[in-house]
Structures are given as C-alpha cells and as structure tokens.
Amino acid sequence: MADLTFESPITKSYPAGSGDLTLSDISHTAKVLVRADVDSPAAQTLAVGFGSLRTEGETIVSGSRPDEWMILGTAEGVASIAGSLDTNGHVSVIDWTHGRAMFRLTGQAASSVLEKVCSLDFSDNMTPDGAVVSASVAKVSCDLARNDVSGSPSYLVLCDRSFGQYIFDTIVDAGTEFTISANA
C-alpha cells in the first residue's frame, strides 16, 4: 500500500501572523454525510436537530439540513458514530472527507471577518455557539457551524473542495484588517 498523504485543496503558503484571529485549514478532517428521515432510528442515534450541533468527544455531529447530518472529526471518531447507525430503511452514509474543504476561523473578530463575506446575522442571539447554517460565502454555497473554542468565538466553514483555495484566500483577505493568521 502506498504511503499516502491527504492532499489539501489549500496549496499556498502564508506568512506567519500574530494576534488571536486565526484561520486554519483542517480539510483532512474526516467527514461523513448521513441522509435519513427525521424520525428514523439513525436520526435518533444522531440526536441533533436541524440547525444545531453537538459534540461527542472530539467528534461533531451537526444537523446541516432537515434530513441531513454531517459527522466531523478524526477517522476513528467519525467511523465510530457512523458505524453505530441503524441503516435499515432508507439511510445513506457517504464519505465526504475528500469532497469538502474545511476551515476553522477563531478569534474575537471572527464574526467581523465573516460579516465581510456573508450576509448572515452573526450576533450571539441569532448564531450562538452550536448553531449550524448554510449560506452564501463570497458567492459560494457553504456550511457554517459555530463551535467556540476555549471561550473564543470559532466557526467551521465547509465548502465544495474545488472552491477551497478561493474561499480560504477570500477569508484571509477579509481578515487582513484584523491581522489574521493563516495556517495552511
């Protein structure tokens, strides 16, 4: 078996920055898409509604659509939850690890950065920690999830892999006025 490294969609390098605002490429994160009816046993196991996420250790289960969930995390963590699903009935489990680019934007100015590329209301009331949304980010359809880290506002941004470099560059550009650090 060849010694394979996951090739990220982010191929550029960026100068090191300072400050608490960071954008990190975590496209290698394992991602599984589950499609199932909302009242199915699989949905009961996933145990999170549309528009929200829950965490199970380092694994995130997010309700990205009314009948669609994403499981994000390490390969082992994701496989554990995906493998526990009752797939009787009409349930699809698709490996989306390679198909989605994924980034984490963290820092006090994170929502200010997103406000430059996305028209959603990122106030704490409307998009609190644990909220999951789908929106246009710089004219690309993306999934966003707020998943605060150590008290700092933090957002996961997922998009079609082919847009990955463009979205990453666009967020870095938007974050320039807040001295963003890009980690790719």
Partner: protein
C-alpha cells in the same frame, strides 16, 4: 509661493483645523498651503481665492455658495480624481488641485463666450437646435460634448481598494447632528446596537459652527457617544439608500484600509436625523462670487478660521441669519447692512464684475457697496430617505418647508426634519426617538429569533411593539422666500435660471416631472437638495398655484452620488480548480475558463496531444465532470424518469449512456450512469450541467415523488477524475491496479469496476471513451488525486504518456462524432434532432419530456426539425468558424449552422458537426457555408456523425 494668507483669522473656539500642521498643495499649478483639517475650499478661501469654478453652460465665474459637501460651485480635479467636492475633501500634502470646465484657465475661459449666445442656449436648447441637417450630427455631437461639465478621467488610474461588509444593527441613525447623536445615545442606553452615520468629517451638525453654548453642548454629546461601545460611529460616511424592510446602504469613506466601504445593513429601526439644508434665494446676480449662504460664512469663520470677505450685506429671515451678524462682527467683518425679510426687507440684485460682488441693490432701491452678500432665507428638509420608504412629505406653508407624513413603523424621524425648537426641546425629542427605535428593534429581534432553527433559545414572550407616544416638535413660522422680484439662478450645477423654468413651462413642460427633465433642474450633483423647493416655487408662481398643489418629484437612491467603486466593492469571482491544478500550472498549461473552473486548454500543442493519444496514451483531468451519488431502492425509477431511455435492467457493474430532456422536449443534458452496487449508482453529467441536473433531480423527488426512496448527493469534487486514453491505456492502468481484472473480455466497454489504483483504495473505474480511444475513466478520492496523476505520468513514460487538455479532447470527440449538449444543441433543440433514436423509448411510463418527445417524433413534426449531421468541407484546409450559417446557394436564406468545427490532426482535414434543415440532411448532399469573412465554401453531409472509426473498434478494443 502662495499669496499671503490674508483671509485667515486668529484661532476660533470651535475650529477644526490644526494650525501646527501645515499642508502644502497646488491650485492650478500655483503653490498654496493650508492646515490639517482644512477642506480644499477653506484652504483656498484662506488664501484669498474667490473664484473656484465656471458654470456648466455659460462659464460664469463661481465662488463658494455653501462651502460644504453640497456646494455646487466647488467641484475640482484633484490629481487624477475628477469632480471632487472641494467643500468636503480635506487637503492633503502634495495634492494638485485644478479647476474643471475652463479653458485655457479658470481666469481666462474662452468658453465664457457662450454667454453671448445665451438666448440660443436656454434650457432644453439641444432639443431645438443642432437637429438639422441630420448629416451634421457627428459634428453636433462634438459641439454638445464641449458643454459637458466635469473633470478628466484617467483610464490608467489604479483601482483603489474598495470593500464591502454586512451588518445587522438594531438601530441605524442617519445624521450625526445633535438630534442624531442624542437618538444614538438613548438607543444605546437600552443596550441596542447602533450605527451612527454622519456624512461630514465630524459629528455635531450645526453645533460645530455655533456659539459657545452650542460648542459646550457638542462636547457633551460627543463625550457621551464615545462612552458607548455599542455605538459604531461612521463619519465621512453617508446613508445612501433605504430599501425594503430597512435594508440600508451606507458608504463609509473613513475606513483605514479601503478607499470606500459599502455597508449593507439590515436595520431593525432606522432613525432619520438628516437635519435641514439651507436654501438659496433667487435674484439677479445670485451666482456671483461673494454671494453665499449664511451657513457657508459661519462655517468658514468658526470651523476654519477664514474671513469670507471684508464688507457684508446680510439678508436674513431667521435666527441663524441673526447669529451670522454676531459672528461677522466678532471677527471684524464690516456689516454694511442687515436686511430683514421679517419686516418686509428684500434684496433684488447682486452687482459687480464677473469675479466678485461689489454692491447689492436692496428692495427699496438703495445700493450698498459690499464684497459679500449673505442670505439666510430658509430651509429645505432633505427628505430623500423618507421618500424611499414610500412616504410623500407634505408642504407646510406656514413654515415654508416639507414635513414627513407617514413613514413606516420601522423608520422614525427626529431633528430639523421633524420640527423646530430650542436645543433642549430637540434633544428631548431625539431621546424619545432613540428609545422608541430601540424598543421597536427589540420586538423585531425577538421575532427574528423565533423564525430560525439555529437561534438561541428565547426568554419570555415577544415584547409588544411600542406605540409612538412622542411629543411632536413645534413648527416655527418662516417667511416663504424663494424668488425676489428679479430672476436668477435656481440650479447652480445645471445653470438653470428662473427665466428658463418659466420659459419651459410656457412651452408646455409645466408639470414638476416634465420641467425637471426638460430643463435638468434638480438633476445635478446636489440632487435637488438646494434646488427643488425653489424650482417648485417658480413653477407654482407661474401656474398661479401653491407649492403643495404643484408637488415635487420623488427622490430615489442614492441620497448622495455614489462611486462605481463603492458599488463594485470587493469583487467576489469564485474560481474552481482541481487537485491537479498546481501540476497543470507547472507543466505549461494554457488555461481556459469553463464556467467557474480553470482548466487546461492545452499544454502548448493540442494537435500533438491528439496524435499522442491516438498513437500512445494520454491522460486528461476531467474532475469538473458532474457526478451524483444515487442511493436507494427507487433509483431505477428516478433514472427512468429523468432519462429518455430505459434503466430498470442495468446490471451491477454496467454503465449506460443516456440523454435527458426538459419538459418541453429540449435536450437538457447527457452522460453515463453506472450501477455500482445494491441500490447504489453513480450518475455523471456534463461539467456545466452538474448543478442543474442535481437540482432537476431534487425537484422531481421533492415535489412530484417524495415517496421515492432516493438520496441524490453531489460528489463532483469528492473525486479527481482522470481519463486515461489511447492504445496503451490498458497496459498503463494495469501497471497500477492489481485488484481489478482488466482483461477486455472481463471488463468490457461500458462497464464499471471499483478497486485500488496506485495504492489508493475506493477508486471507481469506467470503461467509456469520449475520445473514441480505448480508455478508462478513473475517479480517485480527491485527497489522493495528485498522487495517482503523478504516478500515472511516471509509470507511463516508456509508453509515451502525455497530458492532454480540453482542446485535444474536443478535437477527438469531434473526430468520433460525439455531440456536446450546449455546443451542438441549443435551447430549442428537440431530442430527435440529434439522431439518437435508440435512446428515445417512448413506450416507457411517463418521464420528463415524454409528451413533447412523442409529439416531436411524429413524422409530420419531425420533418420540420433540424437534423444534426457530420460535415466535411470540399477544401480540407478550410475550417469554418463555429456558428457559421449554412445557406441556400446564391441567397441569404438560412438552412442551418455549423455547431462544431476543427482541423483534425488524425485525418489531416477539417471536420464539422452542424444542424441543417431536413431537406439537405441526406448523406452526400452538398451544402454552402458562409464564412465570417463573407466568402462561401461548399461542404458535404457525411453518412455518420463520426469522421473516424465510426464502428468504434478502437473504443471497444
């Protein structure tokens, strides 16, 4: 050296200039200086400059009128920036400022001769003159172009950094005067998030040039505003438009990084506190340098420490004019006369040379020598933002201005637009307004939260929407002063006089809408804020009606002119690239934009790439190929419904080609779908059709067949797709794949397998071939795509491997006669046209497009449909351009067109596909093609679409 700054006054209490920081600049090539904080206008005025511009049509010398953002006489060129408002732009070191619309110089402008032809250049003259003879129109165009005002645009000007941002504040306050500031403070005190927008450089409005009490109040308000973290202050910014549901556009000009930033704010409440605009008075000579509004003089004196003149006549009708007299006296300007309109006084003419007022003729016939004539004759409410809400402000004759009537509940009005009163009264009203705005915003915020699944859990019931219980502001009576007993300029920017307006009305343009458009009055850069009421008043006077009866035009966005840069903002142009993109760049690809994808068109020689594939082996990155993962027991039902052919019996491991039609029978897309496993299929679509077909499938499932158990998931970029094509492709793939038997008897054409390629598991391999060669299309999990690509290139060196691009692929597919949806078909092409009847299974149950398909296959109908045919020109060296028309010889009657055309390296001749009328579609028919250069060539209709290996021996090998 700049002239002595004889017009600079000693330090003033409220001045905004920094006298410790000198700023040097040039004006019309001569050196001048000012201080940091000066506007260009105030710095020039301090240097004794009186003439700033020439009027648009008659090139009359013009001086400052308002000395602020709206000044119609202060437009200048600053380096390569035209039409700069000198009453607003701050001086910066090294600026080169010059006058516009004057030649050869501001002082000696030849075009002032236009004044001699005044009677031929009245408003609307271009509708009556420069019409005949028609053949002279190109000359007339040049003449009329000389009347166009404005500065010079340098096409090489670097594009500044413009930006964009979204915002969702509770309250936006438009206007940073005292009322605006107090509203913001009171709203913020309740916890609301507030954006306070002021188009001048400082908050404060009229308090900035007021007396010591005003300045003290200003300091207090500024301090309070600064104390709130939840008030975002944007100075030198403008609320340019209010749209449905309080979508508010704000142009921010004080951003540290961006030239301009457009803020698209969804405000729960909008407070309009735009203040009042001082209105000019219309009289003879009112556009002479030295005639200005009272506010202009007070701003120059109090904010910039500039003496506007030496000896003044003041025509006043209100307390601001009275305060002006105090200011003039305080700084040593002789007040030669105060003419009070409240006691019947009037002025009729400003006399003097073209460069300055020298005397003023009063209503009583007396003449007073003066170099400064200052008027304080009333106010216009800039109700534009309220017009944009749908409100039609009404005229109040007693106060001689317009007031809002009924803006929507989420728009509140305060300050001068709402009424009058002492500063304390105005601030109390503003405070009530701020609290009301915040209260209503809180109700809306609660409602919005309740509408989304993701919002935080709400506490308690939605608060009731607060009623508007504010105490209305009083309205102070004001004399209705619009035009004196003489005629003068009404619209300074457009050079429209009251005589012009009356003349237009007499010609029949006597409604406010017509007179505006015919004369262009109110269509200048001030957008009517200085001119509208006077225009309406003149028209009303002519018609013998009241201003209320005549009415006004409707203000539309923007509130103030907006640059294209601000509207353009940050340009988001999404780009899509595959995982192999970096390799393509490093190996000399010539890129082509295919939709949003950047793809290799070729790597230097497309013809060589074709030959290499035909003789050896080549690989192409086809990642953009649309791919949809289909899972569920009812997938065959979906396939039968979307495609025109049959799918129920497609075995696991098999692939089938299909065509899709829209409900009007037009060809929508085509592609292959493979049966991967139990209830699991992979559909491919055209690259450009990937999104469309996904939505098409979801639409049917969600609206017509929600009972079908099918999940459709787009996986286009989850895989890097590599097509390995050529006689040696099997050999090459075989070297990298151990767990799939590639024997042609085992893995036949139009079959699919899953296996490991170059050590990467879970690859999907089809045996299909768009190029017409033996080929394998390998879909690799995208995170290992580059590895597989490079391994193929490495492993295939001895086989003569080479990468090939889109152009080579297009040539080869054309050689093979494979049509491309959207290239060889268009939005009207019905399925029978493409001559693939074996795909049209109208004996199926109902499917998308069936009814139209059945109709179009009726022989009577089909006889009128174009036919897709292969074509070869008689001269093999001629390659007709795509879209060339096929015509009846000797006529211009069109019989069809060339849809695809290339020079074939394989056949060493040109080859085409085209759509033709059925009457010329028979093989062997000669047709005539009109080339782009007008020449005509002949071509023959071929028996097959394929020009090469039409039996498919190479493909199926």
């Amino acid at each position: 050296m700049s002239p002595a700054s004889s017009s600079r006054l000693p330090e003033q209490d409220g001045e905004v200039i920094d006298r410790s920081s000198k700023v040097r600049f040039t004006w019309n090539g001569k050196n001048h200086s000012g201080f940091k904080g000066d506007t260009i206008a105030s710095a020039l005025a301090a240097n004794g400059v009186k003439v700033f511009s020439r009027s648009m049509k008659y090139h009359r010398p013009r001086g400052l009128l308002t000395a602020d953002f709206l000044d119609p006489n202060g437009f200048v060129q600053v380096d390569d920036d035209p039409n700069v408002r000198s009453g607003h732009r701050l001086v910066e070191p090294g600026m080169n400022v010059s006058a516009q619309n004057a030649w050869p110089s501001l002082n000696r402008d030849i075009k002032a001769a236009n004044g001699l032809a005044k009677r031929f250049l009245s408003a609307g003259f271009y509708y009556k003159t420069f019409m005949k003879p028609q053949k002279l129109w190109p000359y007339y165009e040049k003449v009329l172009a000389t009347f166009a005002p404005g500065g010079k645009v340098d096409l090489d000007t670097p594009h500044g950094y413009h930006d964009k941002r979204y915002a969702h504040p509770d309250v936006v306050v438009a206007g940073g005067g005292p009322a605006g500031m107090q509203s913001a403070i009171s709203a913020a005190e309740t916890g609301a998030s507030v954006i306070l927008v002021e188009h001048d450089h400082q908050l404060g409005g009229h308090l900035r040039w007021g007396n010591s009490d005003d300045l003290a109040a200003l300091a207090d308000l500024r301090s309070k505003v600064a104390g709130f973290e939840n008030i975002e202050v944007l100075t030198n910014s403008t609320v340019t438009g209010r749209y449905e549901d309080n979508w508010v556009a704000i142009v921010q000009r004080n951003h540290p990084l961006a030239v301009e930033r457009l803020i698209k704010a969804r405000a729960k409440s909008l407070v309009v506190a735009a203040g009042l605009v001082e209105r000019p008075y219309v009289f003879a000579g009112n556009d002479k340098p030295g005639v200005m509004l009272s506010g202009a003089a007070r701003r120059l004196i109090n904010m910039y420490g500039v003496k506007p003149g030496e000896r003044a006549v003041v025509f006043t009708a209100n307390a601001d004019g009275d305060a002006l007299v105090d200011d003039l006296t305080r700084v040593g300007i002789e007040v030669a006369a105060v003419v009070d309109a409240r006691s019947g006084g009037n002025i009729v003419e400003a006399k003097g040379g073209p460069k300055s007022v020298t005397a003023v003729v009063l209503g009583d016939g007396s003449t007073v020598k003066a170099d400064l004539l200052l008027t304080a004759t009333g106010w216009t409410a800039p109700t534009s933002l309220l017009n944009m809400t749908g409100d039609r402000p009404a005229y109040d004759a007693a106060t001689a201005r317009f007031f809002p009537v009924a803006p929507p509940d989420n728009v509140l009005v305060t300050g001068g637009i709402a009424g009058d009163g002492s500063l304390d009264v105005m601030l109390e009203h503003a405070a009530e307004t701020g609290r009301l705005a915040a209260g209503r915003a809180a109700t809306m915020a609660h409602q919005f939260q309740s509408m989304t699944a993701r919002a935080a859990d709400m506490q308690g019931e939605t608060p009731a929407f607060p009623n508007d219980d504010r105490t209305a502001l009083p309205r102070d009576e004001h004399p209705a002063l619009f035009r004196s007993t003489t005629h003068g300029i009404v619209d300074y920017s457009e050079d429209v006089s009251s005589k012009d307006l009356i003349s237009a009305a007499k010609e029949g343009y006597d409604s406010v809408e017509l007179i505006k458009r015919y004369t262009t009055a109110t269509m200048g850069p001030a957008q009517g804020k200085l001119e509208t009421v006077n225009t309406v008043a003149v028209l009303a006077e002519h018609r013998g009606e009241t201003i209320a009866e005549v009415g006004t035009t409707v203000w539309r966005p923007p509130f103030a002119p907006i640059t294209l840069g601000a509207l353009g903002g940050r340009i988001f142009e999404p780009e899509r690239v595959s995982s192999i993109h970096g390799w393509h760049e490093q190996h000399g690809m010539v890129p082509i934009l295919a939709g949003q994808w950047i793809r290799p068109e070729h790597y230097g020689d497309a013809a060589a790439e074709v030959r290499n594939v035909r003789n050896n082996v080549g690989i192409i990155d086809v990642t953009p190929l649309g791919k949809l993962d289909l899972q569920g027991p009812d997938v065959p039902k979906l396939l039968n419904h979307l495609y025109t052919n049959k799918w129920s019996k497609l075995a696991v491991g098999s692939v089938r080609y299909g065509m899709m039609c829209a409900e009007d029978g037009v060809v929508l897309d085509d592609g292959v779908t493979g049966h991967l496993g139990d209830d699991h299929y992979l559909m491919t679509t055209t690259s450009s059709g990937a999104g469309t077909i996904w939505e098409w499938a979801e639409n049917w499932l969600q609206t017509e067949h929600p009972d079908w158990q099918v999940h459709v998931t787009p996986v286009t970029t989850a895989y890097v797709s590599i097509n390995v094509a050529g006689p040696s492709s099997r050999e090459l793939v075989g070297r990298l794949c151990d767990d799939v038997d590639l024997d042609p008897e085992t893995f036949k054409y139009m079959q699919v397998r899953q296996g490991t390629v170059a050590g990467v598991a879970d690859c999907i391999m089809w045996r299909i071939g768009f190029t017409g060669e033996l080929s394998y299309e390998i879909h690799v999990p995208a995170g290992h795509g580059l590895h597989v690509w490079e391994t193929l290139m490495d492993t295939g060196k001895d086989l003569g491997i080479g990468a090939f691009g889109l152009e080579a692929q297009r040539i080869m597919r054309l050689e093979k006669g494979h049509f491309i949806v959207g290239q060889d078909t268009d939005g009207l092409t019905k399925a029978p046209t493409v001559q693939m009847d074996m795909l049209l299974k109208t004996d199926k149950e109902d499917f998308a497009g069936k009814a139209e398909l059945v109709w179009s296959m009726d022989p009577g109908v089909r006889a009128s449909l174009p036919v897709l045919v292969g074509l070869q020109t008689t001269d093999p060296a001629v390659v007709p351009e795509e879209a060339c028309q096929i015509v009846v010889p000797g006529t211009n009657e069109i019989l069809g067109r060339v849809t695809s055309s290339r020079m074939s390296p394989t056949l060493s001749r040109s080859i085409c596909l085209g759509q033709v009328h059925p009457s010329v579609a028979a093989p062997g028919t000669k047709v005539t093609i009109q080339l782009v250069d007008g020449n005509r060539v002949t071509a023959m209709v071929m028996e097959h679409h394929a020009h090469f290996d039409h039996e498919g021996e190479r493909l199926r090998g």
